[in-house]
Symmetry: C2
Subunit: 316 residues, 2 copies
């Protein structure tokens, strides 16, 4: 028999505590981030596994940094449906690995040719270009392998989740958005064109993170799912508008990546289209629309509401 | 009522005829290849879909060429378990898209820097490097999305197939083999090291193609599955040994890709390790071991046997 031991110092939220049991958003966010860090560490192949250099590089780009916005969205959406932790971990890490792979390939010399990411040298700088290419390729594969893990319960639902993530990541989603972005340099896009590009490039994966999180729990009604989808689409755009604002207002040290590079590359952004105050106004509008979509969920959406406010007002 | 019409000329095998109904290997192979071509054309996003240039490039690299060895293996293995055509098409195309993505990334300047593939300019030559990067990324995603299609019947089996393909493609499979290959340039590998590299780089996907084809049909006994796995591992190695022989004996026009490039790049091959006649002898040994593994299947393995002979004696 074990006896209860009274703690002599205030407990910090350990990785083993379920984020869904934590009340305050300020405590919840680092707890989820710590969970994701630990889960990625567990899911990624060990550096001891052959080929060690590739696995080292996969771990270098995936661990030890990042806001983990997509995992946070998955966890927050999971609270709408009472999703169990082990499912949320696998689903959130799968989305994060897709995101990280896209960053590694985006930073390559033939794309953005960037040297700084999350405050550290980019993968092809720290390792080399061929390894960075294979790291991106392997992280994408790892994401889909993760979604085949034996924790999701219903295999039919699991297939739906894999389909959703694949569609959001591929040529009709994130990668397609990057291709439009490549073709847009030096061009003037109007607002609908810019929205399509971002809906694919950033929005599709943000939406997938949110829906996958909710799909980890109890089945939703069609109405609830539509409302969450409406939320996820607006939140995805909101995230991008705020990113554009930060790209021209924050400095490189705060962002942990090269600031001002969109303007330098003559890429169209919401700031170049609407001006800084116009972009800020648009962000507020999107925030209001996002929160409006969450009304049907009542108190269960508290975490998503707080996360939306965080996304709107973040400084990095 | 329709009356039977006697054909005035010998019928050629149309794309609509199921390959499993065709007796002769010489007829079966082009029929499967035509099926794969048509299925890929159907599965890949249309060039009309935004972004058109990315979809054009995905179609350019995937359609109109290739021996389709992996799809042929999937179809031949499918005959062991009576696999239906629509499942075989989806599974075989998924494996082929993984293969094509790996070729596109392998040909990039930071990897093999090759200009010729399947007798045509490589993707980054015909389009450009950023598009070639996104083409590879998107084809990988497309492969996994294909395996979520609603044709496979049992979702649990479908999850197993996705897991198998992911494991075969990622850092512990094909991409891992490429990383070992990168690290091996200018080194002398012994035979076990060379076998590990090829077991991952080429063998893993050949094995996956074979097992996925069989998984499209009736469930196999554990013994049958083990025998097929033994076949698939030996056949994967056989394919690579023959590739190494052709790389130093065939010319560029016949291969449709740059001949002699492994030797030029000082990469270890079976020919550099065993000499040309030693490599040929090893290929015959592997062929015998492969066929031995198929004995348990009796007459149902006829197609796999014929395909193994084709792989052994191919000239390109």
């Amino acid at each position: 028999m074990t006896s209860a031991v009274a703690p002599t110092a205030p407990l910090t939220h350990a990785v083993s505590e379920s984020p869904s049991q934590i009340a305050a958003f300020a405590d919840w966010m680092p707890a989820v981030q710590a969970h994701i860090e630990a889960a990625l560490d567990r899911f990624l192949p060990s550096s001891d596994a052959i080929p060690g250099r590739l696995h080292d590089a996969m771990r270098y780009v995936s661990l030890g940094g990042g806001k983990r916005v997509r995992p946070l969205l998955a966890f927050a959406a999971g609270e709408l449906t009472g999703a169990p932790l082990e499912r949320l971990e696998a689903a959130a890490c799968a989305v994060e690995l897709i995101h990280v792979y896209s960053l590694v390939h985006d930073d390559l010399p033939c794309m953005d040719d960037d040297v700084l990411r999350r405050g550290r040298p980019t993968c092809h700088i720290e390792f080399d270009e061929p390894i960075a290419l294979l790291v991106g390729d392997s992280l994408q594969t790892c994401a889909f392998e993760l979604l085949t893990h034996d924790v999701f319960g219903d295999p039919a639902r699991q297939i739906e989740m894999i389909r959703l993530l694949a569609h959001a990541s591929g040529s009709l989603g994130m990668a397609g958005g990057q291709a439009i972005d490549l073709g847009s340099v030096g061009k003037t896009l109007d607002q609908p064109e810019l929205e399509l590009m971002h809906a694919l490039k950033t929005g599709a994966l943000i939406r997938a993170a949110t829906l996958l999180g909710a799909l980890c729990g109890e089945a939703m009604s069609a109405d609830a799912r539509n409302a969450l989808d409406r939320y996820a689409r607006r939140a995805g755009l909101l995230f991008q508008v705020v990113d554009d604002i930060l790209d021209c207002t924050a400095n490189t040290a705060t962002l942990g990546k090269t600031a001002g590079k969109d303007a330098a590359a003559d890429k169209p952004t919401y700031v170049s289209l609407l001006g800084l105050s116009g972009a800020r106004h648009f962000a507020e509008e999107l925030r209001a629309e996002s929160l409006d979509a969450l009304r049907v969920f009542g108190a269960r959406a508290e975490r998503l509401i707080a996360l939306t406010d965080f996304i709107t007002h973040r400084k990095f």
